[in-house]
Symmetry: D2
């Protein structure tokens, strides 16, 4: 690879990406542009600016951007239309944030004339794949630099030595190893590594960061009503809100009631299993509510179709193929099914669970007239069921007759 | 249809099937054989014998059979190997019991020389389909009679008049309408109809029959360890147990902790939506634990394949196609994946939730050596990830290049 | 069912539908509106008008409509975007015409104030389902009457007696039984029944109606170039043509060269197997060419996704669910993949086969630079393959290691 | 990588693998074991022994093994049970041979104490992936060496220089570049590269090696009858034969009649499109015949299920995942469906096409009694169709009613 001249770095302001920043400068002698995204991770971002300035980045090369609304509107909500869960349980909180970061890395590279972008993901995880597939799909001319796969700073000690040698300030609590590694955004907080590495050990309670342990949740249940339009949440308890505001509000509610903690061993795209603890308070409520509103507004044909392609859709997002022709084609299918997914769901939050308890909609397909145990005034003719069953049974009868005939001969 | 000469009736001993028994006798002048199955519904079955005798059934024509072990071993467990859930949420508690009843109806008909079987399911529901497809698949020569689709006893009043006219004893509490309709077996209790018919109304607490309301569950969490062999639970807290004993024990635990209540609007096979409240305490724990053991013992290729066909598998069971070539073919696939799904899972039960908190197995595929954040002694070469990503990205780059080229021309 | 007052009848002008016309009048005393569609079946339709007048239909109640362009543009072409084949072989020529007829039956009913529609399909086939599901989906208030399922004209003799008793003219060649039954439209001709009923007998050559027997096809091959835009054929041999003109032209070419004959035993939706002989000359060429243009313009991710849902899509069309939420959702997916399916394919026609021999496009994703056996100037780094393989192999190695470890213990 | 001590090389005896042999010796100073498989590629293999001896391989390290029966019985036939075609057209002739070679490479390595295997596939193709995934799955301890990805012999000139410098005999016709590259085995011959690289150019006739150009095929059609048992061909024209004999015989017949030539642009697993010309004469007949026997013996439920998973199954084989848990699980499903796929099919071969014209079986599900246009003596009650349609229509009516209601409000 020829050395890059100008690199846009996904920069958190933390120690690791600061080391990367310096390493890019020293290794390639290149200009560095920093990009720090507010995805709702709940950290102050202005310190990243100071840190970047300190490391010699020019004012005009520092970009701190609030992406919370775009994140929820264009990434989280489309994904939730699909009821996407990876391997039956994971709500894809990290996976769905990566393509948005790739999008801005590429846009900033194009605007600033950079020929490369860089990220701080390691060579063992999924995030490197997600970042790099995103960049490849959006601008194949831009190179991606993944320092963790390139450098020889392969131990904590070497990293700290590099930092000291390069006057990178090291916060006191970063001297030692963190007991686990964290990623956070408006949809979730994930924790993995070190104390969590043995899946036979229960995770220690101090791992939890945004959801209270269930035992500490209030003794009183709380109801929340979520209103949907075409598959997207648009209001909470009757009050219209922006996408990011809705997710923020649901996070507060879910966090308070201990909702959305998942302890999972999952299969990474790169071929190994890993154990993570995920906190997705608002997302867990949202998924439950979305299913609740689909229950009454979505036709079974469309619903079963969606269910059947969901695992593939979730896998694509997990593996980093958000910006791929097949994810976009699946999205077209999913979005088509959501045209009438509008109405309101009441969810009960209580000590770790979020359960739909009521749902209503002007778009409802539920017909009390048809389903009732009472007289239905001719809405449904029970005798039709005989014909329905007879024709569904016909091929089964032909199979049974054939099998018996053949068995007799043998 | 020519009148049947001898009919095996799925007989609960309750008012409705007693009316059917009498109706069969009077309508067709046929001999009736009664079949009462113990599927763990939790009712005394001997009274059904007395009732049948009272209605003129000969001693040798009365069959009361304990099917609990067969039910769990040959129906519930195979289904749970698939992590089957219908429409994302329903654990198929009623659906999975029906084919077993069909199997015994057919066997008793063959043994007793009956030319027909009869059931008490109405013409609006799924159960009629499940019973009749089962019978058709097992013996196409046997007719099925569904009195609810045939007679003119179309109101409660008419039914009671018929009962009185035929000296069928009517329990006091059956004089009025039940506020909802119930089906129960070892896997679940379902409630539907009447007070539950409006999905915008929360279900009243008195609907619950085997699970305590979450607020009344103990304030202390309880741990349970479930051991699996080839996908099936074989022990609880280290103690080996038979299939039915395991499910019974899990039901006790789940019921006590408020686990496994589902309020759902689902799509029936016959085309309408219906609302049900399901209590599946043991099944909910079992599903969680099975997923937990698969997390560490199942390869991602097999796991994702299973996930992708699961919705179809669940739909087949829901629709009544247990005894179909395609369910059997899917079962062969699923069973093949379970050869190493062995090990133990610890599940935490607390106020309505059942969560995997630890899992371990001699069959584990989890490799701490590969996933560790620490030095991995060469287990994994991070540079491999570059090639992996580059080739996964290649087609995306070709697409992006093509799209840009075409856009420029336009 | 209450008797209909005014019925729109799908009327071919032939003997059977003339009998139905008269039967509707006599059975219900209702007004009849006739609808005769030109779908390219290759028959004169004006005689249907005379026939209808003769049977007492009012001038303003007779509708003969040329639907060829709409048929190909809105039904055939969208279906071919999916490369839809039922059970691996059938190009759905009859299935795709039925929803269009339903659409016009409903529109004419709505315009003329009719409360019912009627069709001449029997109770054993798929067409009744397709007609009636179409009508139900488009206007649930309109009843469908299927005389073949209702009347007692259950033999040829009774039909002819009814015709004679009602002064319905009977063409000489209709006195006897036709040796097989035919359906035709611009996409195909299907033949089934009677001489074709034994699938162990080869079909007699006289069954073929629009395709010459392969032995009689020209000894010289012929090339045809088909140009596509966004998945639809728009030109033949460089000449732009309307959809119906394109299909007509391809039918001529295919018919001349013996292309597109299929002898099939298929599974009907109503549960039985049936044997048909299908002639789809133009459609067979179109499918081959569409695959040919997709080969170079469609990304593998989108292509494999399409392939995976195609069987379901074809089944929906076969079963009569064109106007269903799930078919529309799948269509959205398919159409999304076709945005760049533009370019030209050369197909060689010769004695029964149609084979792509060349294809080119400005939208091509084929990169000679990448694939070449020659020096590729760095387009592709072969060393990337090592990493790609290593990570794809990782889980397989972990499985093999686990299996060996467990086997050793046993 | 530490240098291997002993390497089993997949050795054809040709120039390229002879160069690899020598390169392994000189690069690593390792002992080389040669493995030459007879997969029906139609070449003399004994010269490979002489060549190997000449290059200094010890007699006991030279293995020439006839794998034709194992190839067809354990790889080709199981795959054909699935009707596997990749991207709608390719019969996977190369893909299916690779895992068998991997199996023997591993077995020979284990027996001879080798620590590595080597193959002659380049870094651009699928075969490297197939070889190496196979080895990884069968023995993760064995390394695979892919010289084409490692050495600097990156041009024809350098290769020839290396050959000359190392006394490797060069056949005269190998001095120049071959106009295209060939792979062959009992299932197919594939050609790609160089003169075939532009997909807009028709392939020259001289590319064909085992199938005559259609114009040169006999003017008389020929019939062949193939008998199946449980999905596998067991006899031709009534004569029982071994698997490899059957495929050999079908190859002769197909080759003579111009059957089974495919000109395709396909998507490689490594991300690029490539163009190939495939000759699969026997396989094309076999696929047609297998579909023919399934038409009458396979239930639609099982058949549609098979169709729906086939694309995934074919993709797995194409991508090299034969020895993977998911391929094995899919195989279990497929094999389960084949229990009654027994009977005989007559296929007509004529100038490039192979068409089923008749099929019969004691396992047939075809019921003339049900399907007949004549009186069916009550086998089928046409009135059942009304109920069948009404219940299938119910949800469509509910959707239409809802949509109309909502539209009115807007």
């Amino acid at each position: 690879m020829t050395a890059p001249k100008k690199v846009v770095l996904a920069y958190s302001g933390g120690l690791d990406t600061s080391i990367i920043l310096k390493w890019l400068q020293t290794e390639y002698g290149c200009e560095v542009v920093t990009f720090t995204a507010d995805l709702g991770q709940g950290e102050e971002l202005e310190p990243a600016r100071q840190k970047a300035l300190l490391l010699g980045i020019k004012e005009e090369n520092i970009h701190i951007i609030d992406l919370r609304e775009e994140f929820v509107r264009d990434f989280v909500f489309p994904m939730f239309r699909a009821n996407a869960v990876y391997e039956g349980q994971y709500l894809l909180g990290t996976s769905i944030a990566r393509p948005l970061i790739s999008k801005y890395l590429v846009e900033l590279a194009q605007k600033s004339g950079a020929d490369a972008v860089a990220h701080g993901a390691t060579g063992k995880g999924n995030d490197q794949v997600r970042f790099e597939l995103g960049v490849a799909a959006l601008d194949p001319a831009i190179k991606t630099i993944a320092p963790w796969r390139l450098w020889d700073l392969t131990s904590r000690t070497k990293l700290l030595e590099f930092a000291e040698a390069n006057q990178i300030p090291i916060a006191k609590d970063k001297r030692g190893e963190a007991p686990f590694s964290v990623d956070a955004n408006l949809l979730h907080t994930s924790s993995e590594g070190r104390v969590l590495e043995n899946p036979a050990d229960e995770f220690p309670e101090y791992v939890l960061q945004r959801v209270v342990p269930v035992e500490q949740a209030p003794d009183e249940a709380e109801m929340v009503e979520i209103t949907f339009e075409k598959g997207d949440a648009v209001a909470i308890n009757g009050e219209a809100m922006s996408p990011a505001t809705i997710l923020t509000k649901l996070n507060e509610l879910g966090g308070k009631h201990g909702v959305g903690v998942l302890d999972l061993v999952e299969n990474r795209f790169v071929g190994m299993k890993s154990r993570g603890v995920y906190e997705t308070p608002g997302g867990t409520i949202l998924l439950e509510a979305h299913r609740g509103i689909e229950q009454i507004t979505l036709d079974s044909g469309a619903g079963h179709l969606k269910d059947s392609i969901m695992p593939r859709y979730a896998e694509l997002i997990y593996n980093g193929f958000w910006f791929s022709p097949e994810r976009e084609a699946l999205q077209a299918l999913i979005d088509k099914t959501q045209e009438h997914v509008s109405g309101t769901v009441r969810v009960k939050l209580y000590k770790g669970s979020a359960r739909t308890v009521a749902r209503w909609s002007e778009h409802s397909l539920y017909s009390e007239k048809h389903v009732t145990f009472e007289e239905d005034a001719g809405a449904y003719d029970q005798r039709d069921a005989a014909g329905f069953i007879h024709l569904n049974a016909l091929r089964l009868k032909l199979v049974a007759t054939r099998n018996a005939r053949v068995a007799k001969k043998d």
